[in-house]
């Protein structure tokens, strides 16, 4: 097991994410699926820009506040391949659009609604993620 396993902060952070999703649904009636919130920024006709921007800007502020508090404003990973970052971005963007969701949309909100579609999506993207890392870290060397 990794020495980087951080159970307490994982549980606390996870609970906050869950709470945030519940609040967005109860207060605004919206699903806290980040890919969906982002894709909605480009909907034509434009609508709902307000709450989407408010959510996203506050997300950045919340994360930034923690980075500042915890002294992690310098992102730890350096020197990662830029072409791979770009390919990864293309795949994540296309995949979340085609599949209608991501880890928050399907993994938290969808599962919380007991959605069979989301369960399938989660199982498939997890498997795809496991396979990709296995190939990248252990399979192609």
């Amino acid at each position: 097991m990794s020495p980087h396993f951080t159970p307490v902060s994982a549980l606390v952070g996870g609970a906050l994410i869950g709470l945030a999703a519940v609040l967005l649904l109860r207060l605004n009636g919206r699903i806290a699926g980040i890919s969906g919130i982002l894709n909605g920024l480009f909907d034509r006709p434009p609508g709902d820009l307000g709450w989407r921007l408010a959510f996203l800007l506050a997300l950045i502020a919340g994360a930034g506040g923690w980075f500042a508090l915890s002294g992690t404003l310098d992102a730890p990973r350096q020197g990662f391949s830029v072409p791979i970052l770009i390919v990864a971005g293309l795949l994540v963007g296309a995949g979340t659009r085609i599949g209608s969701g991501c880890t928050s949309g399907h993994g938290i909100c969808g599962l919380s609604r007991l959605s069979k579609r989301s369960l399938v999506a989660v199982l498939v993207f997890m498997a795809s993620g496991f396979a990709t890392v296995a190939l990248m870290r252990h399979g192609l060397a």
Binding site: S2, F5, T6, V12, L19, I60, W66, L90, L91
Partner: protein, 137 residues
């Protein structure tokens, strides 16, 4: 301030805090979870478990009300079919996630520290999404 904006901001703030505190903004922790054959970091599983422990009952409670507190009706997804797009999309998304360790939320969160990685990742992500949307027209 408009109450809808205030409540969306509250939710966003907690979401961003949660992402950062849980370590999900660190791609190495994500890849550590996805690396089953390596030094496995189960943190992501704990994050999801804790999130669901709150959101499963929370959603059940919220969905008992047809309208949100702001008075808008709940806008829930209506698709039900397990179709090819769902699976294809998940395969592609998982591959991209496994390549760099970023999904949309953490990538956006990393803008807070001007992480140069997401300055490459995010435009590509938007491009991929727009391209996929065009394809389905």
């Amino acid at each position: 301030m408009n109450p809808r904006l205030a409540s969306a901001a509250l939710a966003g703030l907690l979401f961003g805090l949660g992402l950062a505190i849980s370590g999900m903004t660190e791609p190495d922790k994500i890849l550590g979870f996805l690396d089953l054959a390596g030094a496995w970091d189960p943190s992501l599983a704990l994050v999801m478990s804790a999130a669901l422990a709150v959101s499963l009952p929370g959603y059940r409670y919220a969905m008992r009300h047809p309208r949100a507190v702001c008075a808008d009706p709940l806008q829930l997804p209506t698709a039900r079919k397990l179709d090819n797009n769902l699976v294809l999309g998940a395969v592609l998304f998982g591959a991209g996630w496994g390549l760099a360790g970023y999904c949309p939320g953490p990538a956006i969160a990393n803008l807070a520290r001007l992480n140069p990685e997401v300055l490459a990742f995010l435009p590509a992500m938007f491009a991929g999404s727009l391209f996929a949307a065009r394809l389905s027209r």
